[in-house]
């Protein structure tokens, strides 16, 4: 729990290149200027007049800040959080001084006193903006932690775990050799399930894991489960987020095979077309099965992780065609850099 939190709850400066962050900065400083103007005036007309006066020097500073911070963003993110904040404050002070120097002739050049007031305004505004982003970061991170924990839990059905253990127990007396292999498969499977799965895995590893998982299911379900693999044109070295295929196959068994006494076929096809890797999974579809909540959660989880790694270049589509349920995943073909 603790270690997961620490990973996610890290304080960090906002991403100054993100459009949302830039917009928030602009709006915040404008609002602050308007507030200052309103405080200094006694009527609406004069408030508007005052606002124009106040924001005249503020606008160039804000626009410059946006440019400079965006440019310096990678550098700032390498710094420790506190040093980063101090650096941002310094950058702002330098910018406001430069703007003041350059525009000295436009503003009433009573100068020193005004520059100090500018510095004060800048410090307050910058501190408030940074504090706002700090709070926002805090507010969003529990959601991220939770999403990650949910992903952890969504990975394996307790139903599968206990039934598999039960199946292995049944083998120990009669077929100890098969029981050994089954336990080894289980150990491998759980090693992957419990690993830190934020980095990409390869297609070959993912397929191997899925095969081991299916061995265990085969043990329980016997001839009710038939698996057809089409991996002749599989790019084994292609990168894929771990646990994309296995949970989908687990769904296929749970919804397509287990609810029927008749044997069913799961069809898995992995191939490459130009720069895209295709993963097609088909299983028998049963209309009256009403266990779709779990399925949607797993699909949502996989979709999210595909988007995280490949953004819009990856897609996951599901379709139902004559008694078959099909999941079709397309990801861009990427190899591990060696």
């Amino acid at each position: 729990m603790k270690s997961i939190n620490q990973n996610v709850h890290r304080d960090a400066l906002p991403d100054f290149r993100n459009l949302g962050v830039i917009l928030r900065m602009l709006l915040f400083v404008l609002a602050l200027s308007a507030f200052v103007a309103a405080c200094q005036s006694d009527s609406w007309a004069s408030a508007i007049q005052r606002f124009l006066e106040v924001s005249a020097p503020v606008q160039p500073v804000v626009l410059l800040s946006v440019l400079v911070l965006a440019a310096a963003s990678p550098m700032l993110h390498r710094l420790p959080y506190r040093t980063g904040i101090v650096t941002v404050l310094l950058i702002e002070l330098i910018l406001v001084t430069l703007v003041h120097k350059a525009g000295a002739q436009f503003f009433n050049a009573d100068s020193r006193g005004q520059l100090v007031r500018f510095w004060l305004f800048t410090l307050v505004a910058t501190a408030l903006v940074l504090y706002y982003f700090h709070l926002r970061n805090r507010a969003l991170s529990p959601a991220l932690t939770e999403a990650r924990l949910q992903a952890l839990q969504a990975r394996i059905r307790p139903h599968f775990l206990f039934n598999s253990i039960n199946a292995v127990l049944s083998l120990i007396r009669e077929e100890p050799k098969r029981a050994e292999i089954a336990l080894e498969d289980m150990a491998d499977l759980f090693r992957v399930l419990m690993a830190d799965n934020r980095n990409l895995s390869t297609m070959a590893r993912e397929v191997e894991l899925t095969r081991q998982y299916l061995e265990l299911e085969q043990l329980r379900l016997g001839e009710r489960l038939t698996v057809e693999w089409h991996t002749e044109n599989m790019p084994g070295e292609a990168l894929i987020p771990p646990l994309v295929l296995q949970p989908l196959v687990e769904n296929a068994v749970y919804h397509g095979i287990e609810p029927s006494s008749d044997p069913g076929v799961i069809n898995i096809n992995v191939y490459k077309v130009r720069d895209e890797v295709h993963l097609v999974l088909r299983n028998p579809y049963r209309k009256d099965g009403n266990h779709h909540a779990g399925n949607k959660m797993a699909l949502g989880n996989i979709r999210e992780r595909l988007a995280l790694h490949f953004d819009a270049e990856a897609s996951l589509k599901t379709s139902i065609t004559d008694n078959a349920y099909q999941v079709h995943i397309v990801i861009p073909y990427r190899k591990e850099a060696r």
Partner: protein, 255 residues
Amino acid sequence: MSKRGQSLRIVIADDEAPARSRIRDLLEDCAATFALEVVGEAANGRALIDLLQRTPADVVLLDIRMPEMDGIEAAQHIQKLPDPPSLIFTTAYDAYALKAFELHAVDYLLKPIRLRRLHDALTRVRSITPLSLDVLQQLTPEARRHLSVQERGRLVLVPVEKILFMRAELKYVTIRTAEREHLLEESLTRLEQEFHEKFVRIHRSCLVARDHIESFERGGEEGGESGWVVKLRGLDERLPVSRRQQHVMKEFGRL
């Protein structure tokens, strides 16, 4: 039920062969201290009910999640057998059922089953009070997939998707399939609650299967108060729609 002193006749119901063989192994271990014999095995609820009608048993070790007919539905039909066996549910994991079992003090065993637990459960089995249908229906949020009717001393299972309509008669409910009629001893109100997804009430005393509705017709004297009748696929008889239930026709694009 067998007389005291005779060996306990046990049936194992589970869809997974290794799970059945595991229970068989454990029962063999129990047999050292306990007079028992396994009289049969079934891979789903339907097969179990067939088996129990041929082979009487004292106890069924009943898996919950099975294809075609799950353990909890099977239990509801088993209660209608002339001399129903005691039931001990088995499950690897089923959050909903476990909560309900605790609530209603129903006997269950968690898989993988421990020898000791199995032994204890079998020792207690003769004192288990039979489960009431009320309790059984609360064990699952799902509707049954079959209705069971007693006909000439046998329990007949009628798949719900084959039923065209259910009509309340004096003491019974008549359920009608394309082939024939059966008499069911249940209340229409309860049936409506359980099967509201598949059946719609068109009259105070009649539920029809949504999937089998072919059309609504203007039906002269047959039409009763509303003047409308329902035509069901595979059935010549037209069923009157009451004025109160006329609104259901909107769902199907009429009126």
